[in-house]
Amino acid sequence: MIMGIDLQVILFYLFSAVLVGAALAVISSRNPVYSALFLVLTFFTAAALWILLQVEFLAVVLVVVYVGAVMVLFLFVVMMLDINLVPLKEGFVRYMWIGIPVALIMAFELLAVMWAKGRFGTDQFPVPADRAADYSNTRAVGEWLYTQFLLPFEVAGLILLVAMVAAIALTVRQRKDVKTQKPSRQVRVKRDERVRLVKMKSEAPASKGGN
């Protein structure tokens, strides 16, 4: 408690401010590498907010999966692209007249759903009660996934597997004219295939002169 305000509340607003700022920076920075790095910051701050909600499993998985793997691949691609930064800066004013109405319509729709139905707001979502000291978020997630939501969970896993196989099948290209090494062949190689021993008499250069 600092001056009557809960530390959690202070942290919540701090993290929220960082998150919103980073999210804005993602779409407003000129350099795509900066955008990707700001997205990393956004994910990380979101994980911190989830920790405040005492869902440590989901928070850490967010960091492991999105920050540790997905965003690294994103950065890979963005860094490899040879982007000319100048054309990116053009056309902001030209497209603004269509961009602003679209943004306004989307914002209006979101707000209409939120307020008209009364689904959001503090009366719908009260402050969650503190969990007991022995509460394990990991255990809770595991128990729900493997009992109540077993079928959707397995179906989602299968869909992801199919998508992965499809992605690999679509992108793999076997080129015939490339020389590659096959380790199994390399290991199986016999001496006779590489070395030929020739029997011959030893030869000494004919001595001229000397003693």
């Binding site: 440590e56 960091v63 492991v64 920050v67 690294v72 890979f76 860094m79 978020n137 380790p183």
Partner: protein, 346 residues
């Protein structure tokens, strides 16, 4: 208010009690590396720098190195991205140190005994790759960029077998809490997880060596091809920070292998008649440090023994050999656990 301040100060003291010995260990790890490899190659290694005229087998060498690096100029390459260039070493170092928060050194000695400790470790170790990528990109140098790309691809690839090896440990122990994982291995050397999880134990350590970009997986530095990889443009203190992070990561991998597969602080003789009742049978931090030092030595041993892998061989080993092994053995571990062939806490 004052009590909160006192608690905070106490936590800071505990953090210092972990990081200061860690930094000193890193300093002497570099010395040990040069000495061990020297002896293995029938050389002396560093043996000149001593204190007050005494040579002392070169024991002051690490300090000479540190002061040299700190006093050198940090050269900022032209057209480098200055902000990210300076940020990259810090991003590499921070997770390497932060991961130590959850390591239990003995039954009671742990800074943060959190339930999702193992996940926290995974999260921290997966963050280290950012420093490498950013350093490679911000340097605005082809060598640095290639090194960064190689290193990042390698780290991501070897995180997968590493994660699966951890799943085997989780299946056996049934908890994510590191202290509980050690307690699940209660007993002597034959009760620890290395025996039922032998393939995973080997895969974990090999992946750990690859993850830290150490020989024989050190193509990210590859002096003969890309000069020094992602940190080719770094000098002085910034280079020293990369160095510090690399060695801290090596010590971390050694400590984790000892923790997850070799029973952490438990004594190898516990419960054995005759020896088990004496001092040797009692667990404690000394056992944990001894096991960690063994794996740290193994890092150096590997470097002195093996030639460098080729890059496609590294990828083949990771994806086509290690990952299938772990996939199969996770199932075997689950079978062992369900059938009751392995019981916890003998």
């Amino acid at each position: 208010m004052f009590e909160a301040f006192l608690e905070l100060a106490w936590i800071v003291i505990k953090i210092m009690a972990i990081t200061v010995p860690l930094i000193l260990t890193v300093a002497y790890f570099t010395y040990a590396e040069r000495k061990v490899i020297g002896f293995m190659q029938s050389r002396h290694g560093p043996n000149r720098v001593g204190i007050f005229g005494f040579k002392l087998w070169g024991l002051a060498q690490p300090f000479a190195d540190v002061f040299k690096l700190l006093l050198k100029e940090i050269v900022l390459p032209q057209n480098a991205n200055k902000f990210l260039f300076v940020l990259a070493p810090v991003i590499t170092l921070a997770p390497a140190f932060a991961a130590w928060a959850v390591i239990p050194f003995s039954d009671t000695m742990v800074l943060a005994n959190i339930d999702a400790g193992l996940l926290y470790l995974l999260a921290m170790t997966s963050l280290g790759v950012y420093g490498v990528i950013i350093a490679g990109w911000a340097s605005n140098s082809k060598y640095a960029f290639l090194g960064g790309m190689r290193s990042a691809a390698q780290i991501i690839s070897y995180e997968i077998p590493m994660g699966f090896a951890l799943i085997g440990v989780l299946v056996m122990s049934g908890t994510l809490n590191l202290s509980e994982i050690v307690r699940a291995q209660q007993g002597n050397i034959f009760d620890w997880f290395w025996l039922p999880l032998l393939p995973l134990f080997l895969v974990y350590f090999i992946s750990g060596v690859a993850e830290t970009n150490r020989a024989p997986f050190d193509v990210a530095e590859g002096e003969s091809e890309i000069v020094a990889g992602f940190h080719v443009e770094y000098s002085g203190a910034a280079f020293a920070v990369f160095f510090l992070a690399e060695y801290a990561n090596m010590i971390l991998i050694s400590a984790l292998t000892a923790l997850l597969f070799l029973g952490g602080w438990l004594s190898p003789f516990a419960g054995i008649p005759g020896i088990g009742d004496t001092v040797l049978g009692a667990g404690g931090i000394h056992w944990y440090l001894a096991k960690t030092v063994f794996f740290m030595f193994t890092f150096l041993w590997l470097r002195a023994t093996f030639p460098r892998y080729r890059y496609d061989q590294i990828m083949r080993l990771g994806w086509k050999v290690l990952i299938p092994i772990t996939l199969v053995w996770v199932l075997v571990a689950a079978g062992l656990k369900l059938s009751g062939a392995v019981t916890l806490g003998a």
